[in-house]
């Protein structure tokens, strides 16, 4: 038992020590990542005064919110549509839906890059930039929403919807009042997943954005390529805290749902 605990502790140490070191040295007064020169918030100050990084933060948050809202709406509607399809067609559609989830991100990235450039050339206007970045995030988020909503739809009694119609509800009313409340937990899970994936994405963004429009991941990549920079430490610390809080909320929610289901 002690050996087991020790092993787990070692692995947890391996997973978290690098992040901890990173966070500690974000508060270091000097540039060094090894010698402690006193506590300071100077890298955070520099971070907030760095226009380029702040623009990247803004892009990341905006794209995260917009793509989550759009992908959730599209994904939830598509899931309802798919659940009503014939068996063969459903199989094909679900297969194609899962393709981007299974494919390496880099393939999704370049395939969308080719599509956007193809369309831009075809209509003779537009550029790779914020718009294409946002659209690509919506595209890669939709399957995750569908995969979160589908199980809830399958659990649902199909007769409920018919019953609502029989009782005089309009189709839209039945969707709004009957289907949506039933699948809501799946929709929320899908939305949270979409937001996290969008904020975290590097690969697809890297290939679908144009010059001048960067999100946080791309920003960190281009900074880190030039070597160690304490501003990245400060930024990473903030990202880490935000992600941990988000994850913790999702985790608590999952536990509560699991309890409600078993009760």
């Amino acid at each position: 038992m002690i050996a087991k605990k020790l092993y787990l502790a070692l692995i947890v140490f391996f997973l978290y020590a690098p992040i901890l070191v990173l966070m500690v040295f974000s508060f270091n007064y000097s540039r060094s990542q090894a010698h402690w020169a006193g506590f300071s918030l100077r890298w955070y100050r520099e971070l907030f005064n760095d226009d380029q990084i702040m623009r990247a933060v803004r892009n990341t948050v905006l794209i995260g919110i917009f793509s989550t809202v759009a992908a959730t709406a599209i994904g939830a509607a598509a899931a309802v549509g798919i659940s009503k399809m014939g068996r063969r067609f459903k199989g094909i559609v679900m297969g194609v839906t899962q393709l981007p989830v299974m494919m390496p991100d880099i393939v999704t990235g370049i395939s969308l890059r080719l599509l956007f450039i193809f369309v831009i050339r075809f209509i003779g206007a537009g550029n790779l930039g914020f718009g294409t970045l946002l659209l690509s995030h919506i595209i890669f988020n939709v399957p995750y929403v569908i995969l979160s909503v589908m199980p809830k739809l399958q659990q649902m009694d199909g007769n409920l919807y018919e019953a609502a119609l029989d009782l005089g509800s309009t189709p839209f009313g039945a969707f709004h009042k009957v289907i949506l409340p039933e699948v809501w937990p799946g929709v929320v899970t899908g939305a949270l997943l979409a937001f996290t994936l969008s904020v975290d994405d590097f690969m697809v963004s890297f290939f679908t954005t144009g010059s001048g429009v960067e999100n946080l991941s791309i920003q960190i990549f281009s900074m880190a390529r030039r070597g160690v920079n304490p501003r990245i430490n400060a930024l990473s610390t903030l990202i880490f805290i935000v992600i941990m809080v988000l994850l913790f909320l999702v985790h608590k929610r999952d536990q509560r749902l699991a309890r409600d289901n078993s009760a």
Partner: protein, 286 residues
């Protein structure tokens, strides 16, 4: 109304999934001459396998070698994460851990942490004046200059992908009916035998999805080799990035992407076949 949602989504898939993949396929088998005429050709694939070194043995040809190195690194990453990760999943799924949810959380959280942040953390630790070397010097040991080497890339890969191996195996082990293990014990099997004949085969679906979640992304990444391997470390992902964003040879880039998709399909097929065979052997006939 409900029925109506299905068709727009079919159109969505056609435009944003099928068409882009079709474009990759199209670019991979065409080329454009100086006059702007596009024609069919297989020379990009030919170039990948022949490169400009027709006399050399197959596996040491320029691009084939890049593919071999990518696959080898991905394979090593997969094996190491499996060796480190299986015991973690096994211990966590076992009895004696009352607060599983905290532990599970600790292992899931890094999966959501930005890849770049996690890779950058190692960049700072391994650098010549980083904390590792400072610590070694303090102990009076020789310093390690491993940043921008194969070891650093492998370390970064294992670090980034380990949680992706642990989680599916844990899920599979957790789903197992403990009564099956008790039955095996009652029938006289000792612990190693129970593990080899019962527990491991039943955890195979988890192992297979763990391998899938580590191997392909590891073979396709270019962030980790780029940051921890320095500029000179070249893998398939770097090659695609270079062809699309720097050289501007989309046709060759698309051909490499097609080869990557092919490798993915082959490995998925082998894995699913392997998973089925193992599951059958473990008595999991449905």
């Amino acid at each position: 109304m409900k029925r109506l949602f299905g068709y727009p989504y079919g159109l969505w898939l056609t435009i944003f999934v099928v068409l882009p993949l079709g474009l990759i396929g199209y670019y991979s088998i065409t080329a454009t001459d100086a006059a702007g005429n596009t024609y069919f050709t297989l020379r990009h694939f030919h170039m990948f396998f022949e490169a400009s070194f027709p006399g050399q043995p197959f596996f040491s040809r320029l691009y084939v070698n890049v593919a071999v190195r990518s696959l080898r690194l991905a394979l090593m990453t997969t094996v190491i994460t499996f060796i480190l990760g299986y015991p973690v999943a096994y211990i966590m799924a076992g009895k004696g851990f009352s607060d599983k949810s905290v532990l599970l959380f600790l292992f899931i959280a890094p999966m959501w942490m930005n890849f770049l942040v996690r890779t950058y953390a190692w960049l700072a630790i391994l650098s010549r004046n980083g904390i590792l070397n400072t610590f070694l010097a303090w102990l009076g040991l020789p310093i390690l200059d491993i940043l921008f080497t194969d070891s650093a890339v492998l370390l970064g890969m294992v670090y980034n992908f380990l949680p992706f191996m642990v989680l599916p195996i844990y899920t599979a082990l957790k789903k197992m009916d403990p009564r099956i293990i008790e039955a095996a014990q009652d029938l006289g099997a000792n612990s190693p035998r129970v593990f080899i004949r019962v527990v491991f085969p039943l955890s195979m679906p988890g192992v297979v999805s763990g391998i899938t979640m580590v191997f392909m992304p590891a073979a396709a990444t270019f962030i980790i080799p780029n940051l921890l391997g320095g500029g000179q470390y070249f893998l398939l992902g770097n090659l695609v990035e270079q062809q699309f964003l720097r050289v501007g040879n989309w046709n060759f880039g698309a051909a490499i992407a097609v080869i990557m998709i092919g490798l993915m399909l082959v490995s998925t097929f082998i894995l699913s076949w392997f998973g089925r065979a193992e599951a059958k052997e473990g008595g999991m006939k449905e």
